[in-house]
């Protein structure tokens, strides 16, 4: 019986070898894949057992990791002024993953980024615990707070985006209603689930980042693009006379298109283009749009960034002109009605490009990444996306916007600062109050801040709401906060 016994011995050895080979496959070859699986709590616990890096803006701490004294989660995320900053910071949850900069800069924050390899090596030698790197945001905390307070304080829904026109830094990005990321930072799965469900069903979608992902009809703010297309077509300049009729018949349809309140554009039968802009005359711009044509309008919109995939680092929804079939829709598109849709971010980019001599800079939220000892790892270099319009065209539009500011109400005016602006009042379906828009930059001669504000559904005013009544004060407060804070 010895021969079979020896064969059985061989079989046993083969079994053990198989087991060893398979264990090697699992623990070495597939290890990384398994570690990065979603639903792998261990990776998460690992992350919660090291201090995650901080999110900083202009010396202010927005998010930090505090020791909990617990066993499973040694650190917990804390957000200062959570709801105001959550559109930028996002949240970090072991149940729902992460969002915002917490997500896009995860590698740096958890200390696994390649740029932190040297720090990890150092830690290995000195035996210090692993620390995450820090991320400095471009936000101006005063402006951000002002933006959020303006919206949330009034209890309205809306969004504000402020950019530095010269380098594309996002100075403010606020939404209302907003959510508090601290609610997803805790250690209790149930509490998080409760908060999540509550916010998911809450009125006004507080979890949505309106600034980058909600597409609004832009209303009259779109006239900036129509004007740019007109100037670029070569048929128009600052003083070109356009119709001043209180209402026009749309071609090839029996609908009419009136000015706001059925007013004539000024006192003459015709008005110069700048006055049509200043008074925001629908009839004039509808005809101008019809004159320059769909192709030119689309071309100009594209040069301003419509339809371009953009990450700031969160993805920005594509703004678009929608379908334009026929002259009547083209007329309506020219005044930002019909199917035109823009994000607040896109509208702020239009203002910023006009402010920056037509050069459109790429908006970005991350200023630099820092090692745990605050030495700079990487700085975001300003990046030009396009030359939206030539410099002189930009200056012409700026001059029109300075005139327009005189018609945009006085609420929240800042003495000694010349703002260039354009308001918008966007109808969106019957029975609903209009959205109010205000895009602007200031100071007009040397722009430091470009801003777009939208307040939904008439804000606190209702059916008589206009951009100058509900959105302008919000944006001006943000500009004031920025200019006073040396922004």
């Amino acid at each position: 019986m010895n021969k079979p016994l020896r064969r059985v011995a061989m079989a046993m050895m083969a079994m053990i070898v198989l087991l060893l080979a398979n264990a090697t496959y699992v623990q070495v070859i597939r290890a990384d894949e398994l570690r990065s699986q979603s639903g792998n709590q261990r990776t998460l616990y690992q992350e919660y057992s090291t201090p995650r890096g901080q999110l900083i803006a202009n010396g202010k701490l927005l998010a930090s990791s505090e020791p909990t004294g617990g066993e499973r989660f040694k650190y917990e995320r804390k957000y200062a002024n959570g709801p105001a900053f959550s559109p930028a910071t996002g949240f970090y949850s072991f149940v729902y993953g992460s969002k915002g900069v917490e997500r896009s800069e995860d590698e740096v924050l958890n200390g696994n980024a390649d740029s932190l390899a040297f720090n990890r090596l150092q830690g290995m030698i000195t035996g210090e615990e692993k620390k995450g790197g820090n991320v400095e945001l471009t936000l101006n905390p005063e402006m951000q707070r002002a933006a959020y307070q303006q919206l949330a304080g009034d209890g309205v829904r809306g969004s504000v985006v402020a950019l530095n026109p010269q380098d594309g830094s996002i100075l403010a990005m606020a939404n209302a209603p907003s959510y508090d990321p601290n609610k997803f930072a805790g250690q209790s799965r149930n509490e998080q689930a409760e908060a999540w469900n509550e916010l998911k069903d809450a009125p006004g979608d507080p979890m949505v980042n309106r600034a980058t992902s909600t597409l609004y009809p832009p209303g009259s703010t779109f006239k900036l693009i129509t004007a740019a297309a007109a100037l670029e077509s070569g048929k128009y300049d600052y003083d070109t006379q356009v119709t001043a009729a209180p209402s026009i018949d749309l071609p090839k349809s029996d609908a009419t298109l009136p000015n706001y309140g059925n007013n004539t554009c000024g006192t003459m039968p015709t008005a110069p283009l700048w006055e049509a802009m200043a008074r925001s005359c629908n009839t004039a711009f509808a005809e101008v749009a019809g004159d320059v044509g769909e192709q030119k309008l689309r071309e100009t919109a594209r040069s301003f960034g419509f339809g371009a995939d953009l990450n700031v680092p969160m993805g920005v929804a594509d703004s678009s002109l929608g379908e334009i079939n026929g002259p009547a829709p083209l007329y309506q598109t020219g005044i930002g009605q019909r199917d035109v849709r823009m994000t607040p971010m896109q509208n702020a980019m239009v203002a910023a490009a006009i402010a920056n001599d037509g050069k459109m800079m790429k908006p970005h939220l991350v200023d630099k990444t820092l090692a745990p000892d605050m030495s700079v790892l990487e700085r975001t270099e300003p990046e030009q996306l396009s030359q939206a319009v030539p410099g002189d065209t930009a200056h012409t539009i700026r001059d029109m916007m300075v005139k327009a500011e005189q018609h945009a109400g006085n609420e929240g005016k800042i003495s000694g600062v010349q703002i260039a602006s354009k308001t918008g009042t966007a109808q969106h379906g019957s029975g609903k109050d209009p959205h109010g828009w205000y895009v602007a930059f200031a100071p007009a001669e040397n722009p430091k801040i470009a801003v777009a504000a939208v307040v939904e559904d008439g804000g606190n005013v209702g059916a008589n709401a206009t951009g100058s009544k509900i959105a302008a004060p919000v944006a001006r407060a943000v500009i004031r906060a920025g200019l006073q804070g040396g922004g």
Partner: protein, 484 residues
């Protein structure tokens, strides 16, 4: 492999006996090696225990030293018993088992700590496992003392077989209050607060039965019968026990929902037939029967399909793959070197101290640690096979071979299941996993191995040199000759 007779360097036919120490000196029984090895194991286990408390950031107290000493004392006493009742037994088996058992205690303690931090976590198992270790060692000694000659076991072959089968089937047929289904499997008998798994003991009894039965029928298997397709087929009535075994193992799956035991059982029977008959064709027949069983059973049993699905897609198979998924994540976290004892999070894996204790080992001690455990098992089973090769009687050979294979096959089924090599089945990891029945049963199993090895290495009175002594002459086979 090892030489067939005895250890190298110990001429077995030296003609010297324990009584008359002429030349050459007495056969060394190498018990001293065993003691040294046990001491070494005790040091290893104590160090591991100390590492846990260091990694858990608590000071290792003198208590750990006492634990280590107690461990050494326990196995020291066992060692003395071996000296007394099996002086020529293999010196490596007990230290290897002590190594596994000791590290099992360490890992169970480690998971207990992890569970303690969680609300509603399972209760600590380390203290009861220590108690089971003591009970296991007592029974180990008892087996050595009572079974003074393993050949007497052959006399009780049918008794063993019957009792074994009954024990195996008992939980399935008993009502729920005595045999509650745990995790969908009815394997347990609960009397008061004590519960045990009869299958662990039935395993050994059935091994004894099969060894005795096959040894008595060996010739019939290979001679009587008819040739068909170039294969010698035995007569149907000689084939019957194999078919019974196969049917019983399928029955276990149906009644107790215990895939592991049925697989183990079937594997053992197959390998023992192969060893007894020396014909590989039995393996082929067995495997085809096994395949047939699988094909028939697969569509019928939902839990079987679930297991296979969990094995094929552990990451995407929802709740059925949950356990394996968690185990794989743990092992991946451990990597090559492991997180260190007390540095990982093994308690995340369900059943981290019983069914999944190998994944606990793999996480905290890494691939290297897991490899050590697997190699210790390989050593243990290799020693077991040496015992089989060296045994002087066919019954001992077959029994030892079966016992050794049982250990290694169990390890293969468990470790393969936990690491995703084969579908997961519920078997215990011998000596390592938390569980009293399995520990005590396996101690009895190695006691039999030691007994057989003692008898084969014991210096014999010089007898007339017989060129070939039929080993069967030693076996008591009167019982087998019953007419049917």
């Amino acid at each position: 492999m090892a030489p067939t007779e005895t250890d190298p360097g110990t001429p077995s036919t030296s003609g010297s006996s324990a009584q008359e120490a002429t030349n050459p000196p007495r056969t060394p029984n190498r018990r001293g090696i065993e003691l040294v090895m046990l001491g070494f194991v005790a040091v290893l286990v104590t160090s591991a225990l100390a590492l846990i408390s260091i990694n858990q950031e608590s000071q290792p107290g003198t208590q750990i030293l006492y634990y280590g000493l107690a461990f050494l004392a326990l196995f020291g006493l066992t060692h003395l018993a071996v000296r007394r009742w099996a002086p020529y037994g293999d010196p490596l088996i007990l230290p290897l088992v002590a190594f596994l058992n000791g590290f099992g205690l360490v890992l169970i303690h480690r998971v207990d700590i992890g569970n303690a931090t969680e609300p509603e976590g399972p209760a600590a198992s380390a203290p009861s496992q220590v108690a089971y270790t003591a009970i296991g060692l007592v029974l180990f000694v008892l087996v050595l003392k009572v079974v003074s000659d393993h050949r007497t076991l052959a006399k009780y072959a049918y008794t063993c077989g019957l009792v074994g089968l009954v024990a195996l089937a008992l939980p399935a047929v008993l009502p729920g209050f005595i045999a509650p289904p745990i995790n969908g499997a009815k394997l347990w008998i609960r009397i008061g607060s004590l519960s045990f798994q009869p299958a662990e003991f039935a395993k050994i009894l059935l091994l004894i039965f099969f060894a005795a039965f096959l040894v008595s029928k060996r010739e019939l298997f290979t001679t009587a019968g008819r040739r068909f397709l170039g294969i010698d087929f035995p007569r149907a009535r000689d084939l019957a026990p194999v078919l019974v075994a196969w049917a019983a193992s399928i029955g276990i799956v149906v009644l107790e929902r215990d895939l592991g035991t049925s697989l183990l059982f079937f594997g053992i029977v197959l390998v023992m037939i192969y060893i007894a008959t020396e014909r590989a064709v039995w393996i082929a027949i067995g495997l085809s029967l096994f395949a047939l069983g699988c094909v028939v059973a697969y569509p019928l049993f939902g839990h079987l399909q679930e297991r296979v699905n969990a094995w094929l897609n552990p990451l995407t198979s929802g709740s059925s793959g949950y356990q394996l998924r968690k185990a794989l994540f743990g092992m991946a976290e451990g990597g090559i070197g492991g997180s260190g004892l007390g540095g990982g999070r093994p308690a995340i894996v369900p059943y981290a101290k019983s069914d999944f204790i190998l994944s606990t080992a793999a996480e905290e001690l890494g691939l290297l640690g897991l490899a050590v455990f697997l190699l210790v098992y390989l050593l243990l089973t290799a020693r077991g096979l040496r015992v089989a090769l060296a045994a002087r009687d066919s019954f001992g050979k077959l029994l030892a071979g079966g016992l050794a294979f049982t250990i290694s096959f169990q390890v293969f089924v468990v470790a393969g299941g936990v690491t995703g090599l084969i579908p997961l089945t519920g078997l215990t990891t011998p000596f390592l996993a938390a569980g009293g029945s399995s520990l005590v049963g396996n101690y009895m199993l190695v006691a039999l191995l030691l007994r057989i090895s003692d008898s084969s290495r014991r210096p014999q009175q010089p007898s007339k040199p017989q060129p070939k002594q039929p080993p069967i002459a030693e076996a008591h086979t009167e019982l087998v000759e019953r007419p049917r």
